[in-house]
Every structure is written in structure tokens, then in C-alpha cells.
């Protein structure tokens, strides 16, 4: 990918990702409402919420916390840009993790115990989801011989065929990343009380909007990850992503929140079985000479 293309792709991601993710959140809220026999808000509701938050008064509980929030937004965008210009998958994963760590630091900067518990829970969620993300990068490497996103998506063969375990594992941790039940420990995208919204407790107005925005960038990046498995067949990819997202909404509306121990244990077991299992089989096959 040459420089002009890269700059165009980066700009497109920065502009289009929030729009797409906001619409997705709107669809999410409508489908969730229908599952609960309600009508639900208008499609553009997430944007109304976001712009309203930007107009609220700025209350500083702790200025350091707000600085860390900007780090969260910045590194999430960097991860997304690196991904969509076809860069290095490992940098994408580490920048994303760094962004989340900034978010945790931001919550720790405030004095509220709810905020602290939320931050601790976010760390637990990171521990639960990060191994699978890193394993998936290894899976892509073993399957394609490259960590470059550009090389992975320009492969002619369908990666889902040889990496089904990786895909399943990523979908599993996507539930954690999208903050959906049963894994929404640190905060939830539904309206909830104190501890369930833990990590966002102390942030209000424009700062809450920044968190939402960073989450939107993250959502599109993670969906991009899943897209890689179907890259040669875009229509199949769109169908698969829609199906995955619908499953996430279904899980969200039909499950109660788990204990953090269960979240950690189940996602590590799932990562070990689906992700590592897939990697072992793949490695074995590639040694035997058949792809």
C-alpha cells in the first residue's frame, strides 16, 4: 500500500468509524428494545446522546483522569489507523491494549470506590480478552506467513476455513470488548446503577462522550479483525459480521452478568481450546506439507 492510499484509508477510518459504529449502536438499541417487547429509541439516538454530552458542563473531579481519557481515545484511534492502513497486527493489538490501560488509569485517578472497582474489573476483562487477541495474531501468522494486515487481507483463500477456532475465540472475547452481558463487568452500555457502570462513574458530560467515542472506534476495529477471516468474499464477510453482532445482542439480552472469576476462567478455557487448539492443528498440518 503506497502513502496516498494509506493516508486516505486512515482518514476514512477516522471519519467513517464513529458514524458506522454509532449507527450500529442505534440498530443495537432498537433490536434490544424489540427483544424486550418495546419500541425502542430512534436510530440516531446514540448521536443525540453523544452531542448532548459534549454540550454539558465540564466538571473536573481530577484533571489527570481526563488526560488519561484522551490517551484512551488517541491510542484506540492509532490502533485502528494502523489496522486499516494494512500495518502490523501486533502493533494494532498492543496499541489497543495500551488505550484500555489509559482508560483504567483514568478511572483510578478519581477517588470514588465505584470507579476503582470498575477499573479493577476492566483490568480483569483485559486479562480475559488479551490472550485470545494475541493468539489470533499468531494464528494469522502461521496461516499466512505475515503479521502485516495488508498481506493477510490480500490472500486469495478464505481464512475462516483454516482458522475456525480462532474466529470462534475472537467472537467469544468480542462479547467482553463490546461490554455485553454476561461479560459486562466494568461498565455496560445499558443504563445501570453504580457498580455496573463502575469505570465511568466519575466521568460526566464531554468526558463521558470521549469514552463513548473511543468505544466506537474500538468496535469498528474489532469488527475489522473478524472481517479478515472472510476478506476475499466481502458479501460473506458482511453477512457473517451481521450474524455475529446479532448473536452478541441476543447473548446480551438473554444472559445475567457472571462473577469475574467465571469470566476469566471461561474465556481462558475457551481461548486454550479454540484458539490454541486451532494453532496446534494448523502447525501440525503445515509441517505435514498440506496447508
Amino acid at each position: 500500500m503506497n502513502l496516498t492510499h494509506a493516508i486516505l484509508a486512515a482518514l476514512l477510518y477516522i471519519v467513517a468509524a464513529p458514524v458506522l459504529a454509532g449507527l450500529l449502536a442505534g440498530v443495537d438499541r432498537i433490536i434490544s428494545a424489540r427483544m424486550q417487547a418495546r419500541i425502542g429509541p430512534p436510530l440516531l439516538q446514540p448521536f443525540y446522546d453523544l452531542f448532548k454530552l459534549f454540550q454539558k458542563e465540564r466538571i473536573a473531579v481530577n484533571k489527570t483522569g481526563h488526560f488519561f481519557l484522551l490517551g484512551y481515545l488517541l491510542f484506540t484511534i492509532i490502533a485502528g489507523v494502523e489496522f486499516f492502513i494494512g500495518g502490523d497486527l501486533l502493533i494494532v493489538i498492543f496499541a489497543l491494549a495500551l488505550g484500555s490501560v489509559f482508560f483504567v488509569l483514568g478511572a483510578f485517578a478519581a477517588g470514588s470506590p465505584y470507579s476503582h472497582i470498575g477499573a479493577e474489573r476492566e483490568l480483569i476483562q483485559l486479562m480475559a480478552s488479551e490472550p485470545m487477541l494475541i493468539l489470533s495474531a499468531m494464528g494469522f501468522y502461521v496461516a499466512t506467513g505475515s503479521f502485516q494486515v495488508h498481506d493477510i487481507w490480500s490472500r486469495p483463500d478464505l481464512l475462516i476455513v483454516i482458522l475456525p477456532g480462532m474466529f470462534a475465540g475472537l467472537v467469544y472475547v468480542l462479547t467482553i470488548k463490546l461490554r455485553k452481558s454476561p461479560f459486562d463487568l466494568a461498565t455496560s452500555h445499558h443504563a445501570h446503577q453504580e457498580i455496573v457502570k463502575g469505570i465511568t462513574t466519575e466521568f460526566s458530560g464531554p468526558y463521558l462522550a470521549v469514552i463513548e467515542l473511543a468505544h466506537w472506534y474500538e468496535t469498528i476495529l474489532l469488527l475489522g479483525f473478524l472481517y479478515l477471516f472472510f476478506a476475499p468474499w466481502p458479501w460473506l464477510a458482511v453477512l457473517a459480521l451481521a450474524a455475529v453482532y446479532f448473536l452478541e445482542i441476543l447473548a446480551d439480552n438473554t444472559n445475567a452478568r457472571l462473577y469475574w472469576q467465571w469470566v476469566l476462567r471461561s474465556s481462558w478455557i475457551f481461548t486454550a481450546v479454540a484458539g490454541a487448539g486451532n494453532l496446534v492443528v494448523l502447525y501440525y498440518l503445515s509441517r505435514g506439507g498440506t496447508p
Partner: protein, 144 residues
């Protein structure tokens, strides 16, 4: 665009009462009334909320709590007092511990009558509060 009218987030607190009005407030969130149609969300966090719904009267113990919640809400914000208890103390007015209605402690923008207030009138009260919220936002923007 009148964003505050499209995305009013609510926090609900009960000063002290029979809980009748609380149940009516929660009824607004159920499929029958579904206030999320109007973008209304019950946040449960004063720092995220635009509208404070208070049911029940104010007593010695709830007064500092109500004051704290009010002060933690970022501007612009409005207060809706729901039910006769919240308006004036209602049937608890003569009790030894009663301070009075919500306006004994914080400024109230809309009073919703009823014992218990019906979900329809609660929603109506919130809709009236939205106009006030929008006005307060303009005043806030005009301030230096």
C-alpha cells in the same frame, strides 16, 4: 438541533415515602410506556443525568443526600418533583420528621401531582421539564 430534548437522561431518587410513586416511575420504563422511545434513560448516576426525578418528601436523613445528588449533576439540569409527597409533604406533612416537599431543599422546576402520580402524568412532567432544560442550556451558553 434541540439535543437536550432528544436525549434526556434521568436519575431517580426517593426522599422518603410509601414507594407508590417509585413504582409508577419504574412503570414508565416497562414495555407498556417505554420511555426509551424518547431517548430517556434511567442512569442511576447523578454525574450522567440531566433530570432529577424525586418522589417522596424530604426528612432529616434524606436532605443531605438529595442536596449532594443535585450538586453532583452537571449543568444544565432540572428537577421534577413527583407525587403530592414531593410537592408539599403530602400525607406525611404533619409527621415529626418531615421537612416538607422537595423545594424545601433544592429548587424544583416541575411539580407532578397525584397520589400516586400516573405514568402518563410523569411522562408529561418530564416532557415539560425538557423545555425548561433547553432554556437553561441557552442561558448557560449566554453566560460569559
Amino acid at each position: 438541533m434541540k439535543l437536550f430534548q432528544k436525549s434526556p437522561w434521568i436519575i431517580h431518587y426517593d426522599g422518603a415515602s410509601c414507594n407508590g410513586c417509585d413504582i409508577e416511575v419504574l412503570a414508565c420504563l416497562t414495555p407498556r410506556y417505554d420511555v426509551e422511545r424518547f431517548g430517556i434513560i434511567n442512569t442511576g448516576n447523578p454525574k450522567h443525568a440531566d433530570i432529577l426525578l424525586i418522589t417522596g418528601y424530604i426528612n432529616e436523613q434524606s436532605q443531605p443526600v438529595v442536596r449532594t445528588i443535585y450538586e453532583q449533576m452537571p449543568e444544565p439540569k432540572v428537577v421534577v418533583a413527583i407525587g403530592i409527597c414531593a410537592t408539599s409533604g403530602g400525607i406525611f406533612r404533619e409527621c415529626y420528621n418531615t421537612k416538607g416537599g422537595v423545594d424545601s431543599t433544592i429548587p424544583v422546576d416541575v411539580y407532578v401531582p397525584g397520589c400516586a402520580a400516573r405514568p402518563e402524568s410523569i411522562i408529561d412532567g418530564v416532557v415539560q421539564a425538557l423545555a425548561i432544560l433547553e432554556r437553561k442550556k441557552k442561558e448557560m451558553a449566554a453566560r460569559p
